[in-house]
Amino acid sequence: MRIGLEVHVALPTKTKLFCSCSSHAKEVNSSICPICMGMPGSKPMLNKEALRLAKSISLGLNATVNETTSFIRKVYFYPDLPKSFQITQLSHSIGIGGCVRIGSKTVGIRRIQIEEDPAKIIREDDYTLLDFNRSGVALVEIVTEPDISSLDELREFLTELRSILYYSGINISEEVKADVNISLDNERVEIKNVTGVNNVIAAARYEIDRQGEIIRTGGRVRMETRSYDETSMKTVGSREKETEEEYGFIYEPDLTDFDSGSIKADKPIIASEVAGSIAETYGLNLQTLRELSLFDMGSLRLIQLGVVKDPKAAIGVVESLKKLGRMDVKDDVFYKLIENAARGLQITADILGRIERDETVSGGAKGIDQKAIDDDIIDTINKRQDLLIEYRTNKKVFNFLVGMLIKKYSASPRYVAERLAALLDSRIDRAE
């Protein structure tokens, strides 16, 4: 099975790719000018910020950045395309020949190209409207090699790609748009314009089943373009004629060759690699680290700061801060939180606030009163001997006690649970 993707993502530039219109206007057709409307006589001007972001993505995808990059015209007639050609890139794309590592496998990246978005088509029952606010918005298209060979790999690849895009400064809350190419035998089927990771996977799953069924029953898969219907969760054949696409590419003569080398762009952090090396060095759970860091720059930064102090406590603090939405804590506060967590203190909004205000927290610098907790537990066990019998079979009672102790001592759940279990176990052992 061979799956390849063409992923489109919007670049977060303030202005459009070839003019100074805002990329983020709300009111329809309010952010337009002669350039993005393709008026006769207008010419494109390249947005350097788009070039920088695309270069950064290319570096993140381990691609070769072309020393000079240039554009081409892709000609086709459609009402959303004001010039009847799209300015995009091909052989002199910003990035060529990269790869993305997922687990032990490598997915090849053929090309990273910069291009303009067409206008938005709004279809109504008996008419169609066009919103040119989107016309000329900067996009990057990432074309992979057909190296993905299972749905799991597809999901992993999309996660990894989105993480790299996130660390390149792309707003990944906007859904990716992708064309998905799938072939089980020789013929390639392209599913056009699928929006969102879940839909990409669902479309691929449907298409794999569909092609598999055709092959099992002795049929031949036809090379075609299909589209994905989100409601029925099926791919459907489009009515377009099955001819080789002919766009009549020529190079874009209004845009000179750009010296990509002179554009300063950094390779983004590859969070999965950083998480992997931290997990290995400090013996931490990789999955937890990935969940915390793949799409959270602040989290990754704190993890890197914290693991050198106290790996386990640091991860606990980052988890708490993530719940509290407070990845912005100052470094010294973060270090104090780790110290307190190491002593078993549960990091709550209240505790965080007190540490930030430089107030003493319960138990002062010593953290929580460990002896008081132990005494309390022993006292409780003495009063309720039934606990000794029930706790191994009935978790409810145990959890209730943990909850009570957390509240009473501002202690962390892990610490309280550990102490309670240890003391109960020691009493049971003794009883036996």
């Binding site: 008026m39 001007m45 009402p79 050609f85 020529i250 003569p253």
Partner: protein, 448 residues
């Protein structure tokens, strides 16, 4: 002293501009120089603008029906700079539709030669050349892709300057072939051209290909004549041209004949590149948002724009079809890619010659044809008439066509070429020529 300085030193009588535009209107009925005359003009040194260059608020059609009624919401950078420089906008000049033509006959209203209206004015900047020939005080902002300034300048007996590609901003120029299009100037003297050139040149953020380089004026004492170019010329043209060479020898130039055997391939390369680019540029005209509009929005889009695009003239249609062919995947390597290689080869070859010399040739290989004769030419024969003007245009070299003789009452033009950015040198060359040669004009409208 330039005509511009002279004009500005004089007292302009009341009613000067209204009388001028009225006279012009009258002649325009016979010669078709203007697509529109600005009757509101009341100050400044008059300048006209080729109708493929946008002037805010003024109908701009590139002489094409598909743009009829199109009023651009912005002006070309060069137009803004002329107005800021104290020039007064006189009107939009006629042209071959979208610049597709050598004679000025590919327009709804055929341009006529001011020396004799039976003859062609040349194209595609036909109206610019006619206006320059009619008006005593005037400069024409025009445009050349493959010879659209030189050809009409030669047939109408005016000075036509095409600068180094990239020195004048193309922002606001309705594209024919973007990698070849150059805005240029026609006037009655090289010094007037230099004045307007300095007003308009300079970097423009709105045109990425426009550069801020200051041109040089490196005089060459050697002139190269490319034999293959002369071989294609009519005898009458050659014999006149040889007299010009004698005069130049007498004034101290060394004349060398040089072979550039593949220079004739420049015509094919030019038409392939220009048609490929123009077929993409014309794709935007779908009768949808501006200019000629169909109101039957009920039709499917393919049927809709196909019907609208029927109003293109025959030459525009020919170039759309051929241009679409040469860039299609199956033949791109045979045509488009090869044409780009020929262009590079030619630039390298001619650049070598231009290091130490100017290149000089007749501007056109024939004497001015009658309108009826030009209409008889097949497309291939018509394209062959650009043999001399294409080489500097495809290479982006600065060049000027200037009048050097009159045969049967009609002017003859020669074309002087220099290396990239040595633009002032060709102007200096022509200024030097003007000291010993008087240009003739049949009209002197607006003389003071």
């Amino acid at each position: 002293m330039t005509s511009i300085d002279e004009f500005r030193s004089k007292a302009i009588p009341d009613g000067y501009y209204s009388d001028l535009t009225a006279e012009l209107e009258k002649l325009n009925g016979q010669l078709n120089a203007f697509n529109g005359i600005n009757r509101l003009l009341d100050s400044g040194y008059p300048f006209s603008v080729k109708d493929n260059i946008c002037v805010k608020g003024v109908e701009t059609t590139a002489s094409s029906k598909i743009l009829s009624g199109y009023v651009p919401p912005f002006s070309a950078t060069v137009v803004d700079r002329m107005v800021e420089g104290g020039f007064g906008f006189l009107g939009k000049t006629n042209m071959d539709e979208f610049g597709f033509g050598t004679f000025g006959i590919n327009s709804e209203r055929i341009a006529r030669n001011p020396f004799n209206s039976e003859y062609v004015a040349g194209g595609s900047s036909s109206g610019a050349a006619i206006a320059t020939s009619l008006l005593r005080y005037h400069v024409a902002v025009s445009e050349s892709t493959g010879g659209s300034i030189s050809a009409p300048a030669a047939f109408c007996g005016v000075v036509g300057f095409t600068p180094t590609y990239g020195l004048l901003s193309r922002y606001g120029l309705i594209d024919y072939a973007n990698s070849l299009d150059k805005i240029g100037i026609m006037a009655r003297s090289a010094s007037d051209i230099r004045y307007a050139f300095d007003v308009m040149r300079g970097q423009d953020d709105y045109d990425t290909t426009c550069v801020s380089t200051t041109p040089t004026s490196e005089r060459k004492s050697r002139i190269v004549v490319i034999t293959q170019l002369l071989d294609g010329c009519d005898k009458a043209v050659v014999s006149s041209f040889e007299k010009l060479l004698d005069r130049l020898r007498n004034s101290g130039y060394r004349i060398d004949y040089v072979d550039v055997d593949f220079i004739t391939s420049a015509i094919q390369a030019y038409y392939i590149i220009s048609m490929a680019e123009s077929s993409t540029n014309l794709a935007k005209f779908t009768g949808f948002k501006y200019g000629y509009k169909l109101d039957r929005f009920i039709e499917p889009y393919n049927e809709f724009f196909t019907e609208a695009r029927d109003v293109f003239g025959p030459e525009a249609k020919r170039r759309i079809i051929l241009g679409t062919l040469v860039r299609s995947a199956s033949v791109r390597n045979r045509y488009y890619s090869k044409a780009l290689k020929v262009r590079t080869m030619l630039i390298n070859k001619l650049k070598g010659l231009l290091k130490e010399a100017f290149i000089l040739s007749p501007t056109m290989p024939i004497l001015t044809p009658k309108v009826s004769e030009a209409k008889e030419l097949s497309p291939v024969h018509a394209y062959a008439m650009d043999a001399m003007t294409i080489p500097p245009n495809i290479c982006g070299f600065p060049h000027i066509s200037f009048p050097y003789d009159y045969v049967g009452g009609m002017p003859l033009g020669a074309q002087i070429i220099s290396d990239h950015f040595n633009d002032y040198a060709v102007m200096d060359f022509v200024s030097e020529w003007e000291k010993g040669f008087d240009y003739r004009f049949k009209y002197n409208l607006g003389a003071l």
